[in-house]
Symmetry: C2
Subunit: 233 residues, 2 copies
């Protein structure tokens, strides 16, 4: 009937997706339950479950116990963005990466930062400003602070060979984090650093990571004008 002989969860998912996309199952419609679909496809319920669970995660189906499964009315789509270390992003484009450290210093955390990031009292912060280059052209201007109480080892790192970005990814595991994407008009200082015209628009990525309830690092990455981040839907 279905033309799908093999009973892999992928093939079942394909078939379910087809029924949704081709409007065989209309938005809002109730779809058969797992047992019935398992009978129809001649497979175990667990296999149908895996196929449907993933469709629900991606937003195409809405599932509720007892109420059953329905085709989503407004499928909220999700874009999955990779956030690689910058060196890898540059090199994956076939360009040569290097960095320059503009500033590195240690200072006590201000009251505002202490509150905002729930830092310990009298916490000292490592402050960093650096530029990542791709084929000798400025790629990202990075401003960062690192909590020395969360990651005391950084005090002995010079970040000359391995960027702070990369060092932290490798050495400061985090339990959760936040990312903000925005656009900003470059200040004249930023424009000079990035070797572009003042007032150009830059793509900005701000990231904060935590381990438990302790903040590790916060960074603001200002990308060169023309930068685009891409994702599949």
């Amino acid at each position: 009937m279905t033309g799908h002989p093999s009973n892999t969860w992928q093939s079942i998912q394909e078939e379910l997706k087809r029924r949704i996309v081709e409007r065989e199952w209309q938005p809002g419609d109730q779809v058969p339950n797992e047992s019935d679909l398992a009978d129809e496809f001649g497979c175990a319920r667990a296999t149908v479950n895996r196929a449907m669970r993933q469709l629900a995660e991606s937003g195409l189906l809405v599932r509720r116990r007892k109420a059953g499964t329905r085709v989503a009315l407004n499928p909220v789509r999700h874009a999955k963005l990779e956030i690689p270390i910058i060196r890898e992003e540059v090199e994956s484009r076939g360009l040569e990466w290097h960095q320059a450290i503009l500033e590195k210093g240690i200072s006590p955390a201000s009251d505002r930062l202490t509150r905002q990031y729930q830092l310990p009292k009298n916490c000292r912060l490592l402050h960093l400003r650096s530029v990542h280059f791709a084929d000798r052209k400025p790629y990202v201007y990075e401003t960062r602070w690192i909590s020395l109480s969360a990651v005391p080892e950084v005090e002995n790192e010079d970040f000359e060979t391995v960027s702070a970005n990369e060092w932290l990814v490798r050495n400061a595991p985090f339990t959760h984090g936040e990312i903000l994407f925005s656009a900003a008009k470059m200040t004249s200082e930023e424009a000079e650093i990035m070797a572009v015209g003042a007032g150009d628009a830059a793509f900005v990525l701000e990231r904060t990571t935590w381990i438990g309830d302790q903040a590790i690092t916060a960074a603001r990455m200002i990308y060169h004008p023309g930068y685009r981040k891409r994702s599949e839907l």
Copy 2:
């Protein structure tokens, strides 16, 4: 031993994550195989599999048949961005949404577009320019074309009550799409439409969706200055 009495895949995943985050298992280390962990946790292998599979998807583990499972050296993190319809995004912030249509017309596709999007020959396109407002303030300036051969029904839609954005999400299911995020300096026309200063930086989202190999629609959304997109890590 582990202090985790219940054998849900979530609790096992928590425990595995703890071992990774607390460096009990170092980056690059081989971790025990599924059977051994199942023995250790006193559960079925499938349960361990579900826990580890998801950790691999999120980038913390690297799994290969026969080679086994290792802690990722450079965990590439993923940001999962929700791309809701704009009305819902506005209303979820407690603001009132409305839109204004600036232009709506039908024209034949240029050679460039026909090639770029693999449109059928002599394809007619619906061209739209509109503004989404949040509490009467410009929120997004949307420029869009829609393939009339992919979605012939739109010719009879006026998009006055339901925006094109929303109508398409509901009525034009797609099999895949592409999203590009970038920043752009507003032209004076764009700035006037958004009621902001010329040259301000705007967050730009460009989206194209396809059904099979046929392009449905392409849109360029220019967000008001100050807009931020947020995501958890």
